[in-house]
Symmetry: C2
Subunit: 423 residues, 2 copies
């Protein structure tokens, strides 16, 4: 990647999964765009789950009818495939975890930005309302005899009210903030348990594979079932549908809560889009500048006549300076770059690392299930063959010590033939 | 992590590596803080490389003297350890790649921010200089008969000059930008080849392990040497020393190029630090506001008298509005949040994922080297034993078919005894 600021492009595998036919429980094709509240869409995900469950059932049926192909090499191949599958599983688990971590990190970051806006708006409004008001009230008493100064003070009070009005006109992020924090907390929690469960499952798989190699685990169908439960296919189908056009979903979700121009500004953030907060910010800045000019005038002309006014005038100047610093921070926080970067990072986390990791986990599940099915059939038979081979050698020594070759030719043991050729 | 905006805390393994004694080539302990230009520091890293090379030599010596312990189980254990080591290697390679990708992504992002500042400063200065100047020159002609309006125009020209002066007073990021881009490009290039080489090395390791199991790879000392070459221990020692206090290094590197207050502001970015650009930004905004007021006055009072002036006045107003939008973007770009986040992300990428991944790669190298040494000694011997066992059974059938037991008792074969007990 040659430049950091790129638009989000959905990865090809989400398109691939998204184009998978979506069929509801009445077997009718349905719209495949992400609509988690839509009943037909929910049914199409449930249908996928049913298909996967049918696959599991078929797998379990296969377990019941061991085939008669070459046993030893099957067992070895199955063991190898299980090892590779577990490796793929570890990688997929770690990738998914990275992706979800990236999502929660971005959510917390966006939340921090919204919290910063809230506290700046609250702090500035409060200082304008109470701090400035107290100073102005005192100055009003001091300048009571001079009508023109009192008029200036009234003008400043109007300006301050104007600033407060502009600040209150900014969207209230409180609700969005609470939402983001709770989504991030829930996601982090669910992901922690998902990660841990998968880790245990992978370790268990390794142990069972080892036990199976030693011929100790003869019936482990429940493991197949467990593994299936933790890779719900509708999970990544839904995520893929979301990843193909996340902006549409965000737009529809925020409809009526935040203005669509604001959502648009943060989703697409480019130079041609005008900042929807430019007007209130400019008015804020102009009011502050005008008030600063008034205060400078009063400091220059009124203080020589009313020395007691100086303290309050300097207090107001200090308050205006800190409001100006707050305004700069507010401008930076409301700019689309920060929140847009969080949005892009979250999307890349979920749709690249996350979905990729889940695909690896599915690959692991499929490979491990197949290998296990083979292994559970083949290994007991392989052990039986080895046992019978040892019995044969014992037979040579104990029962017919003087003609082992004759015995072997006389009663050709099919297991032994198998053993010699390794299939 | 409950909140996104946290300070950078170096991970424990970097402290562990940092506290490792640093010894120069004259065997004197040296300061372990990261000073890549310091000769003593360079020597301490070279010393580490020599120690690792000595370890490699020892490993190769071991290869020459195969020990006589139980052969078959050693070969199996070595094969298993190689498989685990390759798994660890794949994970470490991917982690390192993630970390370095995070670093380059953050560098490109920071570069994009600096580029944005540059282009905004350049664009605004140019439009103030040429665009505004043309409009003012035309208005000067139109208002030639009215001294007060001409005075207003001169005042506006002064304001515009003031804005340009403030903009030129901002630090020139051009040099830093070029540096960042070249560092990011170089890092991405080096990392790509490192990742690819390691990937090939891991695959080669797997193949050699397979060949060794089949008794085909008897001399693979060069593989140990190659693996060593790609995990230079001084690489992660240096990175760890850097990770323990990256801010000090950045401060010393930027000394004389950018003011230390600016570097401090971006490195630590918290609410208590004042923005070093607040004054120029405030002056910029105040000048714009004052000019807007002047233009509004002229539009109200001069246009009825000089209708031809309206077009230029509206042109200036439009220019001031777009400068105001540029100012908001500039305020957002110069705010410490964006660059500080890039810095933190880059540090987390290098010092968490990067160093962790390299540690895993070192673990892989060590495990694989040991396992290989054992395997290269044990496997030819194991094959020899298997061959002699088969010869023994053949002997029974061909040379002494009527008394195999007697023969076995008569000439007890030590290899066969080994084979029966599997050590």
């Amino acid at each position: 990647m040659s430049s950091a600021r790129v638009d989000y492009i959905a990865p090809w595998w989400t398109y691939w999964l998204h184009n998978f036919p979506h069929i509801n429980l009445r077997l009718q094709p349905v719209d495949s765009s992400f609509q988690p509240e839509e009943e037909n869409y929910q049914q199409s995900l449930i249908f996928l789950g049913c298909v996967a469950a049918a696959g599991l059932g078929l797998n379990l049926l296969c377990l019941a009818k061991p085939n008669s192909c070459c046993v030893t090499w099957s067992a070895v191949a199955a063991g190898l495939i299980t090892c590779i599958a577990v490796g793929v599983g570890f990688y997929g688990n770690s990738e998914t975890n990275d992706g979800v971590y990236q999502l929660t990190y971005s959510l917390y970051n966006a939340n921090h930005t919204l919290g910063g806006v809230d506290s700046l708006v609250g702090g500035t409004s409060a200082s304008m309302r109470s701090g400035l008001h107290q100073h102005l009230a005192r100055l009003d008493e001091i300048f009571a005899t001079r009508g023109d100064y009192v008029q200036t003070l009234q003008f400043m009070q109007q300006m301050a009210d104007n600033v407060i009005k502009q600040l209150l006109g900014l969207p209230d992020w409180q609700e969005a903030k609470v939402d983001l924090a709770s989504i991030a907390d829930q996601t982090a929690n669910v992901e922690y348990y998902r990660w841990l469960t998968y880790l245990l499952l992978l370790i268990l798989d390794l142990i069972i594979c080892l036990l199976a190699c030693l011929g100790l685990a003869k019936q482990s169908r429940w493991l197949l079932t467990t593994r299936f439960l933790f890779t719900p296919p509708f999970w990544f189908q839904g995520t893929s549908d979301f990843c193909v056009s996340p902006d549409k979903f965000v737009m529809s979700k925020t409809k009526g809560v935040i203005g669509s121009d604001i959502v648009h500004y943060y989703l697409y953030c480019n130079q041609t889009l005008s900042n929807p907060f430019q007007q209130p910010l400019t008015i804020f800045q102009r009011s502050l500048t005008t008030m600063q000019i008034q205060i400078q005038g009063l400091l220059q002309f009124a203080v020589p006549l009313f020395p007691t006014a100086e303290r309050d005038l300097l207090g107001i100047q200090h308050l205006l300076n800190s409001s100006e610093a707050g305004l700069h921070q507010l401008t930076a926080l409301l700019d689309c770059r920060g929140l847009n970067k969080d949005y892009l990072d979250a999307m890349v986390g979920v749709c690249y690392d996350g979905v990729e990791g889940v695909l690896y986990l599915c690959l692991f599940s499929t490979m491990a299930s197949c290998a296990f099915t083979v292994m559970l059939c083949a290994i007991p038979r392989a052990w039986r063959q080895i046992a019978s081979r040892e019995r044969d050698y014992d037979d040579i020594d104990e029962e017919d010590p003087f003609n082992p070759r004759a015995r072997r030719i006389a009663s050709p043991n099919p297991n032994l033939a198998n053993m010699h050729s390794f299939c």
